[in-house]
């Protein structure tokens, strides 16, 4: 997709006066992916891996809710909540946000169980040889999206991570524990 087509599709508005970017009325920012990785590593140094993981996960959940709002404006609420259409829409939504490509392995909004495979995610792209999963912001964002769809408070786990040498990052989102 060319950027002109991309901008038109997203109804991107750039306010030079305010220095703001709006997509369908929601404010967004463009951030270098390396900044996310370095911020995670910096926080891990200061407060440990577990503390950084918790902060990023819960902090990013809300951004998942905003991504859902943007998706709803782009595709409609019914399509976002359709188990049949969700995989294609999520893949497109994450691609246009620059997160990477997504395969939905399982989707059940009733029970709730959603399994996602992603390659080339933000955080794991910048880290090698980790002994624990590192994509906590992404885990939070994915969980937030599914929370908005189901209206339930959910738990997201990253069970595979490219930073640990896995072929892809795998997220399992359910009602927990």
């Amino acid at each position: 997709m060319s950027f002109r087509k991309y901008f038109n599709f997203l109804s991107v508005r750039i306010s030079a006066k305010n220095g703001h970017i709006l997509i369908k009325g929601d404010r967004v920012a463009m951030v270098p992916t390396e900044m996310f990785t370095e911020l995670y590593l910096g926080l891990s140094k200061v407060m440990g891996k577990a503390g950084a993981a918790t902060a990023f996960y819960f902090g990013a959940k809300n951004s998942g809710h905003v991504l859902y709002d943007i998706g709803m404006k782009l595709y409609g609420e019914d399509n976002m909540k359709s188990e049949e259409r969700f995989p294609k829409i999520l893949d497109e939504l994450l691609s246009i946000a620059g997160y990477g490509r997504c395969e939905v392995e399982k989707v059940d909004f009733t029970n709730v169980e959603v399994v996602l495979h992603l390659k080339g995610l933000l955080t794991s792209s910048g880290i090698e040889g980790s002994d624990v999963p590192v994509c906590h912001a992404e885990r939070g964002a994915m969980t937030g999206i599914v929370e908005s769809i189901t209206g339930k408070q959910l738990v997201g786990k990253e069970v595979k991570c490219q930073a640990m040498g896995d072929d892809h990052c795998e997220f399992v989102i359910s009602e927990g524990p």
């Binding site: 997709m1 950027f3 305010n18 220095g19 920012a29 390396e34 902060a55 990023f56 620059g98």
Partner: protein
């Protein structure tokens, strides 16, 4: 933002549908809601308190600032950014392009160094109301890191006004570390 630089930016952005990546001159970018910053700050505050969250985000963001500095170099040139006359313009263009808010450079002296920047509608403060302390810790870290990259000197950044505290704008004072 003048039309020439806007067109340069617009035509330099690349989408890679196969990978789901957005690139600007080889630098990978993501589009993220600004709430990510404010919620990260709030969550960290819950875990380690306001002082701890401020230090952790400031230090973490400082280390990450090299990617933002590279973004500025990709928009203009290193010489343009390092010039006191044109620094304000390069910062304005970078921040407007990325949707961070509108900066006003009140003072710039790279030799000391001492730089004062005001920003309206910054990312974190947009998502936090009625704080009794400044909240733009990530932005403070990034701006300080950018000045460190420009001057090659260790700097300290302080946010002395913040819109989340009811001020008209957020104001950052960045100085050489020996001055603080």
């Amino acid at each position: 933002m003048d039309l020439k630089i806007y067109l340069k930016i617009f035509t330099s952005l690349r989408m890679k549908p196969r990978d789901g990546h957005i690139l600007f001159k080889g630098e990978r970018l993501i589009v993220t809601p600004p709430d990510t910053y404010s919620k990260l700050y709030e969550r960290l505050t819950d875990i380690i308190g306001k002082g701890g969250a401020a230090s952790a985000l400031y230090m973490g963001a400082k280390e990450s600032s090299v990617s933002v500095y590279r973004l500025m170099i990709n928009l203009y040139s290193e010489e343009f950014i390092k010039s006191e006359e044109t620094f304000a313009k390069s910062l304005d263009v970078m921040m407007s392009f990325a949707g961070y808010g509108k900066p006003e450079v009140v003072k710039v002296d790279f030799s000391k160094p001492e730089v004062i920047i005001r920003v309206r509608g910054f990312i974190t403060s947009s998502g936090v109301d009625h704080s009794d302390v400044p909240v733009c810790q990530i932005e403070r870290g990034v701006l300080t890191g950018v000045i460190e990259n420009i001057t090659g000197k260790t700097c300290n950044g302080q946010e002395v006004k913040c819109q989340a505290m009811g001020d008209d704008y957020c104001e950052f004072v960045i100085t050489g570390s020996e001055d603080v």
